[in-house]
Amino acid sequence: MKIVALAAAAGLAFAAAACAKPTEETPGTGSSAAAAFSACMVTDTGGIDDHSFNASSWAGLKAAEAGNPAIKPSYTASTAMSDYDPNLANSVTKGCQYIQAVGGLMGDATKKAATANPKVQFSIVDADNLGQANVYPIQFQTQQAAYLAGYLAAGYSKTGKVGTYGGMKIPPVTIFMDGFADGVAAYNKAKSKNVQVLGWDKAKQDGLFTDDFGSQEKGKQKSDTLAAQGADVIFPVAGGAGLGTAANAGDKYVVIWVDADGFETTQYGKVMLTTVVKNSTDGVKEAVTKAAGTPGTLLTGGFMGTLANNGVSLAPYHDFDSKIDPALKAEVEALKQDIISGKITVESPAQPK
């Protein structure tokens, strides 16, 4: 007990020490570290382990570090929307040369910080450049890859019914569902079949939603409903809630995952037909590597992930490689080439302009 009291006294002594005047009189202006390139990321409220764009953007910074050891990545997690302003401002104070914001909801805070610090390079995933020259946008034509997944699902389905549900009716979610529905429609047109999409109506822009990105129980409920209606391929666009669908798949249905390859990032690889990959990792890696290559100058343009530049893609089939009809695989590959060449355009009201 004495020791604890002693430690308490030490704590108080420390508090006093923190108030003491610093000895150095003219500290450096923060850019003294010339060799190292400080790349910072501010997460949105999902946190760093969200199995979605925060995690994959962070993976992009780490990948950039692996390629160029001078890049020193660090991150700051936000717990509420009101944390965005201070976290971005603190990152500037810290001397970060590249600041990665994640998600369109950080747009306002990023714009504010970018306006106040016109010489610092900012970058944002899932938003445009906000009218700022020092903001580098990283966006994705996700509907292109979802289209391929829809075609594949329609061809794979034995029951003639495929299902999908979303985490929330917001564009970053519905863009997946739009592409998926279009892909199924394309299959029906090509084969004169009538495969039905349960859970999303593109024309009405309405469908099935958990209104929760975390609850596996709600994900399971939605997929049980879809399975009961006969769907044997289910496409959950609901982040962690989708794990409830994957966990309870059994032999009833197979799952198409989103964002990062579900075969590798979840424990349910056995039921993953494929994944509609949104490659934030490569987008961020490319941006920060470019920025580190030319420190002191601002990046121009932006990153638009498409099938052509592998910014969005369909993941490998892994365990299902032998179970999918080779003809279907060839058709999906052909469709991909058609989208890349521009012969087919896939559109969604939610796509970035």
Binding site: D44, T79, M81, S82
Partner: protein
């Protein structure tokens, strides 16, 4: 009576109420967590020597002597302060466990004891120093400002962040403290704050009137909507006897999902944005900043919070409704016998609590948020419960606790960016502070506090 029983904190007030209504005996505290420490010896074995006890009829002591004795005695101020220190020590241990480099160094404790302890001290002290610099003042910045190397705005930035974070916490803390005094446990601060943010935010984004009209209108709408959300609980409790804890938890969920639905409606959603976000809140609807500068976010929300605390303090101490509220809290049956309308009092108390929490939500919506989003409030309503408990459910205590928690949050953000310590640590520290405050016997035995003579005197007064 020990010093940490929230309901019977103010001996003067208790005595006054006894005067006005002799029919009201002092009742047991409403919440079981505090009930346990009526018997300090039962939970933790404290060896208290009765010789140390001072009876009230001993000769009067000088102020200096009283001060000296109180300094290391179990009065609520010392216990709170030591609880904070204890929580920071626990936080330091977690920091070390959570940092791979420092943790690895501990394997060599016996080979390189100096380096191990030095590294640990270096890491922990830098982190806590960053927390201090991010919430109160950064001496480095002051120094640079003195040498004309930076602006005075930078000097005020940390304190501005603390005030920004504290404003909603004080409101939601009051929203828990007020019903607590009426024997009600309001878990619904989060939902009420959400409804307040919806009310204030809608006025903020829908109208573009002159600022002097639109801001009060927005604040009023926030208080009104939050108040209605609280009133709903009060009425259901009074009419049907449904338990307020269950009601408020359920209404939290309903409010949260309602916000998610609401911002997607065509008249609210920003048509130019692809994410779930409302139209931007008009500048004329925003609470004005204390100092108009893009860096300093602190706004008049903190002034409103202090006014609200003053209002609540007056109400509880002097107001007729405040008296009825406390009477219902002490013993509803006795209050009813004395002619107080218990149902009405409960409903109005919850409405008041809801309005306070609603103001907390409004202060976020009109203070810092650019628009309404699903995650705009974070955990502000739930943190209000901690703030209220740490503030011992007294209005000015809530203000102090709100400022402390605001500082911890602002400092936590800075600590995270500069030292790489996870921001979740702040949540752990906040929870530990409240845990230690709620278990004063633990703090007392750890620090070997002596029994407070003043508290003993008060107890004697109250019982005698």
């Amino acid at each position: 009576m020990t010093s940490h029983e929230p309901i019977e904190q103010e001996p003067a007030a208790t005595a006054a109420s006894a005067d006005k209504s002799p029919a009201l005996p002092a009742a047991a505290p409403a919440v079981p967590t505090v009930a346990a420490d009526q018997y300090p010896g039962a939970a933790v074995k404290v060896e208290e020597k009765p010789a140390r006890h001072r009876t009230p009829d001993e000769p009067k002591r000088s102020f200096a002597r009283t001060f000296r004795e109180e300094l290391w005695a179990d009065n609520s101020f010392t216990v709170t302060l030591l609880a904070i220190v204890l929580a920071l020590i626990c936080g330091a241990i977690l920091m070390v466990v959570g940092n791979a480099d420092v943790r690895d160094q501990w394997q060599y404790l016996f080979y390189q004891p100096g380096k191990t302890l030095g590294d640990t001290w270096e890491f922990v002290s830098t982190a806590y120093a960053d927390m201090f610099k991010g919430s109160i003042v950064n001496p480095d910045t002051v120094n640079r400002w003195y040498w004309n190397m930076t602006t005075w705005q930078q000097v005020l930035y940390p304190i501005s962040e603390t005030l920004t974070n504290a404003a909603p916490l004080i409101f939601t803390g009051l929203a828990v403290a007020v019903p607590f005094r009426a024997g009600l446990f309001n878990i619904g601060g989060q939902g009420q704050a959400i409804m307040g943010a919806i009310g204030g935010g809608t006025i903020g984004l829908a109208l573009s009137l002159p600022e002097v009209i639109q801001v009060p209108l927005g604040v009023l709408a926030g208080a009104l909507l939050g108040g209605l959300w609280g009133y709903l609980v009060g009425v259901l409790k009074a009419r049907t006897g449904a338990h307020e804890v269950i009601l408020t938890i359920m209404l939290n969920n309903i409010a949260f999902l309602f916000l998610g639905w609401y911002i997607l409606q065509s008249f609210i959603k920003d048509p130019n944005r692809s994410d779930a976000i409302s139209q931007p809140i008009e500048e004329s609807g925003d609470l004005p900043q204390l100092i108009p500068d893009p860096l300093l976010r602190a706004h008049y929300g903190i002034v409103l919070a202090l006014l609200a605390a003053a209002g609540v303090a007056w109400l509880l101490k002097r107001g007729r409704f405040g008296f009825e509220l406390r009477a219902v809290g002490h013993n509803p049956h006795a209050a009813a016998t004395a002619g107080i309308k218990v149902g009405t009092t409960i409903a109005l108390t919850m409405a008041l609590a809801g309005a306070l929490a609603g103001l907390g939500g409004t202060s976020v919506a009109l203070g810092t948020a650019p628009a309404l989003t699903v995650d705009m409030l974070g955990q502000v309503g739930f943190n209000g419960i901690l703030v209220a408990l740490l503030g011992r459910v007294r209005p000015w205590g809530v203000v102090g606790a709100g400022l402390l928690f605001g500082a911890l949050q602002a400092g936590g953000n800075a600590m995270q960016t500069f030292s790489g310590v996870s921001v979740e640590l702040v949540v752990v520290i906040q929870a530990l502070i409240v845990l230690f405050v709620a278990a004063p016997a633990l703090v007392k035995s750890i620090y070997r506090l002596r029994r407070s003579p003043a508290a003993a005197a008060q107890a004697g007064l109250a019982k005698g």
